[in-house]
């Protein structure tokens, strides 16, 4: 049990602060978006929303209860007939409007996302918001082509009313992943953003309203576990799409077991990145860093297990720690920041708990990064755990934070066996210059997404989703559409 900090004192990074100056206006209160209008919760209850990087109060949002959710489902049911029978091309044009509006207001959404989530502005600006717009643009184009998405050439119909529950790690992007395909296929939606990150979804609701969407087609209800439960246990939905933890997902699947409803589950992961001795090592290090520290590691498909071929393990670890030592941590609104804030105190506690377990199990804990940790807010240094054994808790459970386990392998078979030795099956990465080996290993990995010589690549046109206990169903691409079509 020891804490090692990487050596290079020479790596001194003097950057002037480069803060993003734009501040969007945020109303003091936000209602629930139901049937085309913003309304308070029936109980009158509200929740405070804070900036996790400063713990400053941002705004209040309505806290939905059972009767609010019921109202939202009724509005969605009422809107279904008109929406699903609207001429497909016209439905598409409405979605194209959303894509364009998001592109036009990208800066406002980026800043809002970073204020509410804690992620670095460069990530919300370069990934979350443009990818969200792309999701709407891509799915807008499917509306009048659905018959070509299914085998058989008939015109498929929508599933119906969809309840959608999304997590806090990519608040707007997850909303886009859920809403865009559902709406393109003619479904209507009741979406619940995560308790801590409702702001961009609520602004998206304004955008739907301003783009002249018929009332009730999209309903956005904010709230906590009570609202989530109400959405998943209501009698009035035809489908639930859930992204979140495997535990909560399991509860939803059990709850729906006796009902003829459709489910999409995007759950946890414990992604492995396999680094073979013949890999381009510097690029592999960069990919490993991106794979686990992107979004502070709060990514379900994060590459949280680095499996390195034994012959290069030492050099790889040295290079990795050297690179980690230059990760800039601090103000998420600074354009140079690599590592922002953890989204909540609860999540930070959870991550710290896992690091403590790692120490107790005998791992070597390397905490890296540069920059003063701000006095307020929720912060966790980028952390690498050396000497981790496959049976250790931190090698098996999802940490959902900037913590990576370093492990080794000797043969291809061992690499594949170790990568697959988890109940999860969401993502995996392979680094090798031998492409025949790459595709052989890709074939043998039980993961819904396999990245070759890269990691964390996403595209609206590329299906994403897990195998095994990482859930079922896909989002994005042609296969993602099938989840929202009755065919």
């Amino acid at each position: 049990m020891s804490t090692a900090t990487p050596s290079p004192k020479a790596a001194k990074w003097d950057y002037a602060p480069a803060p993003e100056s734009f501040r969007p206006e945020i109303n003091a209160d936000h209602g629930l978006y139901i049937d085309g209008k913003f309304v308070p919760a029936k109980s009158g209850r509200t929740m405070n929303v804070i900036n996790p990087a400063t713990e400053e109060h941002l705004t209040r949002v309505a806290e939905a209860g059972k009767s609010d959710v019921d109202k939202a489902y009724k509005a969605a049911r009422k809107a279904l007939r008109g929406w699903s029978r609207m001429k497909a091309g016209e439905r598409g044009k409405l979605l194209f409007r959303v894509a364009r509006k998001l592109q036009e207001r990208a800066r406002e959404f980026s800043v809002l996302e970073t204020l509410n989530n804690g992620k670095p502005i460069k990530e919300s600006r370069d990934a979350d918001i443009p990818e969200s717009a792309k999701h709407f643009f891509y799915h807008a184009g499917w509306c009048d082509k659905l018959r070509y998405a299914v085998a058989g050439g008939h015109e498929p119909g929508p599933v119906g009313v969809c309840g959608q529950i999304i997590p806090w790690n990519f608040p707007l992007m997850m909303a886009a992943w859920k809403l865009a395909p559902a709406l393109a296929c003619g479904n209507t939606c009741v979406l619940k953003p995560a308790e801590t990150t409702p702001l961009t979804a609520l602004r998206l609701a304004e955008l739907f309203r301003d783009c002249d969407f018929p009332p009730g087609v999209v309903n956005i209800v904010t709230g906590g576990p009570e609202a989530g439960k109400a959405i998943a246990q209501h009698e009035g939905f035809d489908k639930i799409a859930f992204t979140g933890s495997t535990e909560v997902g399991r509860g939803i699947v059990k709850g729906c077991a006796g009902r003829p409803v459709r489910l999409t589950m995007e759950l946890g992961g414990k992604g492995a990145q396999l680094i073979f001795a013949d890999a381009a090592i510097d690029q592999a290090v960069e990919s490993a860093v991106l794979g686990i520290f992107y979004n502070q590691g709060q990514v379900c498909c994060a590459g949280s297990r680095l499996l390195v071929e034994e012959s290069i393990a030492d050099i790889f670890q040295a290079k990795l720690l050297h690179r980690m030592a230059s990760l800039r941590m601090g103000d998420p609104m600074d354009k140079n920041t690599d590592i922002g804030a953890i989204n909540s105190a609860a999540q930070l506690k959870r991550i710290a708990g896992y690091v403590k377990i790692a120490r107790n199990e005998g791992a070597v804990v390397h905490e890296c990064g540069v920059g003063e940790i701000p006095k307020k807010g929720f912060w966790c240094k980028p952390t690498a755990l050396g000497g981790v054994q496959p049976a250790h808790v931190v090698a098996r459970e999802e940490i959902f934070g900037p913590v990576v386990c370093l492990m080794t392998f000797r043969t291809v078979d061992e690499a594949v066996a170790r990568a697959n030795d988890t109940p999860f099956g969401l993502s995996a990465g392979i680094w090798t210059e031998k492409s025949a080996k790459m595709f052989d290993v890709a074939r043998r990995l039980r993961a819904g997404v396999v990245w070759c010589n890269g990691f964390n690549l996403f595209d609206a046109a590329s299906p994403f989703g897990g195998m095994k206990e990482s859930g079922f169903g896909r989002e994005g691409g042609r296969q993602g559409l099938l989840e929202y079509l009755a065919h």
Binding site: G92, F137, G141, Y148, A149, S435, A436, F439, A461, G477
Partner: protein, 290 residues
């Protein structure tokens, strides 16, 4: 009676490499309105103008094909935004030259804009619909994906001068080809107005080129030009024979659409529209850790 102002008479020019040159030959011919009156003058494209256009298309095509399908889709969507803004002008052009009623002219403009939107959406989906993985009986990862043919000559339909016009080249453009379009001989005005929207929609210079002139004169040069990789043409049987015969020299892909093709049909929105404008590439990749 008030003294009326003299209108400025326009000579519509060709559209090659993002610019509007007069024809190389200096020839012009009149554009008639529906009653046979002269509306304007048109440049008469020659064989040399076609060659210039092919050169421009050939230079522009590789980077257009290499652009992401998402970007191509966004550019085509932008084109729809531009022509939506000129809808009144396009409808007037249809009324003046075809004699269509205000209602029918407007309907054709709307259909043309909607078709443009439809193909903006196709750019990043054609691979998912037209391509596939092949389950070969060997340890190979084998997949077939559509890609562009290259430089395509397009003979636009004589009738349906707006809807037929856009419908015949949109699939080619979305698939990453560069095109040289010969506008309807008698009704080229909507096409010329569309060409004017091209530079402001970010379509790169050379990717879309438009010629006006005489079909009888230009058909053979289109068919025989060695740097044109394929032709999509709404022509009669005799003209189709010319295209196939002359095109055989460099094995042009020749796609003939009936000159009475129903451009309002939903099949024009579907994947069949990519016939003749895509090639299929199959890649074999070994899977082995030996």
């Amino acid at each position: 009676m008030t003294e009326s102002r003299l209108t400025v008479l326009k000579t519509h020019k060709l559209f090659i490499k993002g610019a509007f040159p007069r024809g190389e030959s200096g020839r012009t011919h009149p554009l008639h309105d529906k009653d046979g009156g002269v509306l304007a003058q048109l440049c008469t494209a020659s064989r040399k103008d076609l060659r210039e256009a092919v050169e421009a298309a050939k230079a522009a095509q590789p980077s257009w094909a290499a652009a992401t399908p998402y970007l191509r889709g966004q550019i085509v969507y932008r084109l729809a935004e531009m022509i939506e803004g000129r809808a009144d002008e396009l409808a007037a052009a249809l009324r003046e030259t075809t004699g269509a009623s205000a209602k029918n002219a407007r309907a054709e403009v709307d259909a043309a804009i909607d078709r443009t939107i439809c193909f903006a959406g196709w750019a990043d989906k054609m691979g998912s619909v037209l391509g596939n993985q092949n389950s070969v009986a060997a340890p190979y990862w084998n997949f077939t994906a559509p890609e562009s043919v290259g430089v395509l000559g397009i003979i636009a339909p004589e009738e349906a001068p707006l809807l037929g016009f856009v419908s015949i080249w949109l699939p080619a453009l979305c698939a990453g080809n560069a095109v040289i379009v010969l506008a309807s001989e008698s009704l080229p005005l909507p096409a010329l107005l569309m060409a004017e929207s091209m530079p402001s929609s970010d379509v790169p210079a050379g990717v879309f080129n438009l010629l006006t002139g005489f079909r009888d004169e230009l058909l053979k040069p289109f068919a025989s030009h060695r740097e044109i990789d394929g032709v999509v043409a709404a022509v009669n049987n005799a003209q189709a024979t010319v295209l196939r015969e002359q095109g055989a020299d460099n094995f042009k892909r020749v796609r003939i659409l009936d000159d009475r093709h129903d451009w309002s049909s939903a099949t024009c929105d579907g994947p069949d529209a990519f016939g003749g404008v895509v090639e299929y590439k199959t890649t074999w990749h070994p899977q082995s850790s030996e």
